[in-house]
Assembly symmetry: C2
DNA sequence: TGAGATAATGTACACGCGATCATTTCTTGT
DNA sequence: ACAAGAAATGATCGCGTGTACATTATCTCA
């Protein structure tokens, strides 16, 4: 049960090592007869080229690194958000015979993307959950300067033209708030996520512009902040409950916070539909599991993952190097949480 | 901007290549002075050992393959189940400086785990979502015979002693149904998953034994089958609605089906708490997002992933080879969906 | 102080493959 | 039948590292 090498196949087939290599790499010219002879020998010996040696010889690992933030207690992978993107990436890579190397990155430890590239563990990388904080921006900038194949997902940096796939969060936010306004709500609170994420700030702009476009004055006390977890939404409900007399609708920056908020406000006696309207973001599967079903903004996360993988593969395989930015469209999904209770009863 | 190699560091530090290698691999004996000289040279040149070459030289990739079933349309990763396990695996691997190679496996294409091992892309593998179907069993058996480091998660095979980490699904099921029985329910239906999964059949046994231990006759028409998706639960609701006069409680083999069923039965005018009790399985985050909150059986999926990774790492690093099977404990979590409505109102 | 032991460092090769270049075999046209 | 070109195949090297073995420097103890 030792490892079968190219030379073993060559000996059995009565050809040279180079010919075996040619058969497996489909390098022409090559006599069909020889090819069959080699394949038959390979089959008999159950030969499988050593991917490690191949990688070493070519200098290509055949892996794409996907960098995912890792928080010791919180299982970040389990959120709809990351899972969808990861699925999209996986699909595209599988189609192109690339492997997906999942790399968990602790927030505290310094980002060393360059070292990761130098180690040749992967040929390109996709960075999920990047944040606009000092250390990170510079590191990505260095990746960019050295023209390593990479792509950010759902994060852009003001003043830099990094490769990235994002979604139209400004529009999504604007549309969401506009829906509430069209429905007649006027006192609209906004539960946003951390400002290190560019899409948080984009959503804030969309929220503000929608209100002002309807001639409504902005109130800073209408703006709340969570960390995208359900728990944080639940906690914010405590603050918000104190001023529900001055709020008739809430736009939350993701579904999980929306649901946490909904549950928290329930505890304080405020019900969606009767006391306020609610709209989430991401259109995750939980939107249809709650009562009333949650209106939300669909974000093509799976597609975004696919596109990000495509961008990185194009950089690797076709040498594409010019800055690439793309914003995929989002879709407003209207469900019951943005309706008045009387409409339901009608 | 060319690649810095060991020899470059050696030249700058005025030592041999072997010494540089020794410094980086911490091979003694070694003079402290020499070590510092080499490290300083490496720092100046920004030297990073080539992981590809290291892997090739040692014959170890440093990767653990995680094999995940891939269904073109359905994004399997996004389910609580896989995400949690994956997170646990990732945690343990990161701690041991191993990388996680995610491998999507289409159900239709033949399983060739042996080839994957021969290709040396990974040093060990963890198989998620294995099914008890003809081709698969033999392939895993071969892995086992060749004593390749591997571990199954949440799947066992009758008559084989494959390495596996599972949970006490018989007990979980028994406890869940017993809870319903203690609450006074007697006409208890069971919405199970596909029988290719060993935990489906284990749960069936638990369900049956719980009923018979209470002296209740088994009714084959009480048993329904879905595929673990919410949609399948929703569809089953159509059948079940026809016989809700003869059912007062339902045990579902996972939360998603439970919620689908709940929504489907709602459409037919049957409400949890008023018309029937419901208990799910997995204790996923959606249990607390629905109304009433769903009783469920907590399965330590994250922990299971951790343990599976540990088993594989032990096989690789310490040569552990004897059959390893472990069943982690499950916990019954009682919420509102197993209470009668009148209790809530009291 | 010198010999033997031991610590420290250097030399050289293998790992399995891709790929270049050299060589042999085959084809074609007259 | 033969030359010239094309097609097919063979010999060989390099990729960057780990490591066995050879060599040299240092220490120890009488």
């Amino acid at each position: 049960m030792t490892i079968v090498r190219r030379i073993d196949v060559a000996n059995l087939a009565g050809v040279s090592e180079a010919t075996v290599s040619r058969v497996f790499n489909n390098v022409k010219p090559l006599r069909e007869e020889t090819k069959q002879k080699v394949l038959e020998a390979a089959r008999q010996l159950n030969y499988q080229p050593n991917a490690l040696a191949q990688s070493f010889a070519t200098g290509k690992s055949g892996n794409i690194g996907v960098i995912v933030p890792y928080l010791p207690k919180v299982n970040i992978i389990s959120t709809h958000y990351f899972s969808e993107i990861l699925g999209g990436i996986g699909m595209m890579l599988a189609k192109n015979n690339y492997n997906l190397l999942l790399i968990f990155q602790s927030p505290q430890e310094p980002k060393n993307y360059i070292q990761l590239f130098n180690s040749q563990k992967f040929d390109g990388c996709i960075i999920l959950g990047a944040k606009d904080v000092p250390g990170e921006k510079e590191e990505i900038d260095m990746l960019h300067q050295l023209s390593h194949p990479y792509c950010l997902v759902n994060q852009t940096f003001e003043g830099y033209s990094f490769h990235s796939i994002d979604a139209e969060h400004y529009k999504g936010s604007f549309d969401a708030v506009s829906l509430l306004l069209k429905k007649g709500f006027r006192k609209i609170a906004f539960l946003n996520g951390p400002s290190e994420y560019s899409n948080s700030t984009e959503r804030l702009k969309g929220y503000q512009d929608a209100l002002t476009s309807f001639g409504i004055e902005l109130h800073s006390e209408w703006i709340f902040r969570g960390n995208y977890s359900r728990t944080s939404g639940y906690q914010v409900a405590g603050e918000m409950a104190l001023m529900m007399d001055h709020i008739d609708a809430v736009f939350a920056a993701n579904d999980r916070m929306a649901i946490g908020l909904m549950q928290g406000l329930n505890q304080h006696g405020y019900t969606v539909g009767r006391d306020y309207a609610l709209i989430g973001y991401d259109d995750s599967d939980v939107t249809t599991m709650v009562q009333p079903q949650l209106s939300s903004v669909h974000v093509p996360l799976f597609e975004m993952g696919k596109r990000a993988a495509e961008v990185v593969l194009n950089a690797i395989l076709k040498g594409h190097t010019k800055p690439f930015q793309e914003n995929l469209p989002v879709t407003l999904i209207e469900r019951d949480s943005t309706n008045h209770l009387m409409e339901e009863m009608a």
